[in-house]
């Protein structure tokens, strides 16, 4: 039997611009002061290396994160550079990884753990919900747990079952967890560094399908900006990813590029859509989202996860509660269907697509259609 992980890696390798083995081999390459094409994966790798360089209490561990550099190579080169005390492989046991991180954080370490895939974090769920999320509360803030739980997350990579879950609602529903889902290469770097310096536990969701997306960036400059604290914080702050006037698309993580593509297509049809990249699911930035919706009067929330009882539902409810008098149409959702994540041949039917978004936008009670 083929190892499922390998097969997913194969699938990832088939994506355009997949790195060759060793391509990410020099962590913290940020020294080179040049702007060039940087992948999402490389930005995460650089963020880890820079964070470990800046703070010797940052320790990275998980399954296959050492010699292999993680199945997505996000931890590539960290063991070589920082030693096995700072980046190491654990036995194959997610509750073990998570529970050990709790104890390490109690004793002055800042653990960053990698859960190999979204659905394989479930064995650790008990530790996350009962301890990671609650320890600071149980102890009236005496015990802080500055843990980052990195999770390669969501679909769109042709992965086999259990490799593509959108699990954000489980975490977002749990008070005490900060939940982030970056969508751009710049945010991948900055938000991971913010997460590592954050005093509270952070669930850091890395959209797998964006790992090999690229942006032209100067990583050295990013690092300097971050370390000089001149950048505006991303945790708790949504951004306007594209300005528009007719309707607002609200998206996060893997759905942001889809929303951007939809807005670009709509522009060609003469409709101006604003795109909000939520970035920070918890805490949620009502202000930025509502300012946009009040301006446009219409909103569509886009997310890959099944829509029932989801983060998308929560966002819709918040918009209805706060912007009711500005709304010209009911707030709509475009989400995954309420089915287990489908197999590769079916996933394109499941995922929110540009067409599905545009069709939904068309249904927002426009006067010209009345």
């Amino acid at each position: 039997m083929t190892d499922t992980t390998e097969r997913v890696i194969d699938a990832a390798a088939e994506l355009p611009d997949a790195p060759q083995a060793g391509e990410l081999n020099e962590p913290g390459q940020a020294e080179a002061r040049i702007a060039g094409p940087v992948t999402f994966a490389k930005a995460l790798n650089a963020a880890l290396a820079d964070a470990m360089e800046a703070d010797s209490s940052v320790v990275m561990f998980g399954e296959d994160v050492g010699a292999l550099g993680g199945v997505f190579r996000i931890t590539d080169g960290l063991t070589a550079r920082f030693g096995t005390s700072r980046c190491f492989d654990t036995p194959l046991a997610e509750a073990g990884i998570m529970g050990m991180a709790v104890g390490m954080a109690m004793n002055g370490i800042r653990p960053v753990v990698e859960m190999q895939f979204d659905a394989f974090a479930y064995p650790a769920f008990e530790q996350v919900v009962s301890h990671v999320a609650k320890m600071p509360n149980r102890t009236k803030g005496k015990v802080k747990l500055p843990i980052v739980i990195r999770i390669p997350y969501a679909g769109g990579i042709g992965g086999v079952e259990h490799h593509c879950d959108s699990s954000e609602s489980y975490y977002a529903h749990t008070p005490g967890l900060t939940v982030l889902a970056p969508a751009t290469v710049r945010d991948a770097y900055t938000m991971l560094r913010e997460a590592i310096s954050y005093p509270d536990p952070v669930v850091f969701l890395e959209p797998k399908k964006l790992y090999w997306s690229k942006e032209v960036l100067d990583l050295a400059e990013l690092r300097e900006t971050f370390e000089a604290s001149t950048a505006a914080p991303s945790i708790g702050r949504a951004v306007v990813a594209r300005a528009g006037t007719d309707a607002t698309l609200v998206a996060y993580g893997p759905s942001v590029p889809t929303a951007m593509a939809a807005a670009a297509a709509a522009a060609e049809e003469g409709r101006s859509l604003e795109v909000i990249d939520v970035r920070s699911i918890v805490p949620f930035d009502d202000e930025t989202v509502c300012a946009s919706v009040r301006k446009t009067g219409r909103a569509v929330v886009i997310a890959e996860a099944p829509g029932f009882a989801s983060v998308a539902s929560e966002i819709v409810a918040r918009i209805q509660e706060r912007c009711f008098h500005s709304l010209a149409a009911p707030v709509r959702r475009v989400t995954g269907f309420d089915v287990p994540y489908p197999s590769p041949k079916l996933e394109h039917f499941f995922l929110p697509s540009v067409d599905r978004i545009l069709d939904t936008v068309d249904e927002l009670q426009w006067e010209d259609q009345a």
Binding site: S56, S57, V59, F82, G83, T84, S85, R86, F88, T90, P91, A93, A95, G96, M98, G99, M100, A101, V102, G103, M104, A105, M106, N107, G108, I109, P111, P123, E126, Q127, S130, H131, K134, M135, P136, N137, R138, T139, K140, G141, K142, V143, K144, P175, G176, T178, P199, D200, G236, V282, P283, F284, D286, E287
Partner: protein, 387 residues
Amino acid sequence: MTISTGTNRAPGTAKTSEQPESAEAAMLPSATPVQLVDPNGTHTPHADYPLPDGGSLLAAYRKLVVGRRINDQANALVRQGRMAVYPSSHGQEACQVAAAVVLDRQDWLFPTYRDTVAVITRGVDPMEVLTLLRGDWHSGYDPLEHKVATQATPLATQLLHAVGVAHAAKLKGEDTVVLALCGDGATSEGDFHEALNFAAVFHVPVVFLIQNNEYAISVPLKSQTVAPSLAHKAIGYGMPGERVDGNDLAALLSVLGKAVTRARDGGGPTLVEAHTYRMQAHTNADDPSRYRSQDDVEKWIPKDPLSRMRTYLRELAVLDDDGEARIAAAAEEMAASLRNGLNTDPVVNPEDLFNFVFTEKTSQLREQADLLRGELSREESSEEVTP
């Protein structure tokens, strides 16, 4: 902070007793639980475990008597409605005391809900400890200050935290040993397995102490496992296991003391199974008559940890009437302080609901706090107008 570099493994597994012995033999527990003072109060010598001296035994006995008094007083306070629930360790006090006594100041204790006496014996203010069981807040003490983790309710989860604290201590080069407690039922949980495996693989200074009190609520040990003993599980993880008479304070101090020393010297983790018995109900919500007979319970009365240590110490002549009176007075003093402390209703602050979820309140939490504040002030003003 500096973290030492290099491999996770500490040099060589230290085995102090006579060589040569196979690795397997060194990991297997003794054929019968280690005992140093039998139920008649007689010293029963053991080749591997020396009897602690009279002075240390007397000091520990005093804590045993106080521990029993805590259990009995806490039960009474539950009956009086002063405390929501109390999982008593009556009959298991020797384990409780030994677990606290074998640790140094810089060491960590990881207790469960049943280990209140161990936490108090470790030196945490009893009123802060009982906060949890009274229902004012989840944990009333600062774990970092006392190096005592919050009393764990989800079974076996704390064992992994113990491994994490020990692993961090090792990375930082601290001289810290961690002792983690759990029950027999908890050994069936996945976290128990993961904790032992992690501890062995990372070779960290942790002592796991299972208080095998024969029942997990209503389920007897034989329905929990068919292993020869719980201590036998150790060899499967590659660490030594040992069985000890859990009602024998002397044996517990010796066995746990050796395991702690071994851990401190870089010898890695040990699994200790203490054979004891839960003399009372699981909690006040439990009806033990449904699953065990009073006859079975009574069989354990002669094995009581207090009476045998008392007999032994009297025979050794380190304990006399005077000493007993002083110990009894200390126990009464503890009981009185518990009664007094729990006599007043706790003052709770509704704002606290929102204060410790995140380091900084999110805008969502600020709104919810405002909502509650508004509700409460309206209630107050409506109370004022009612005649």
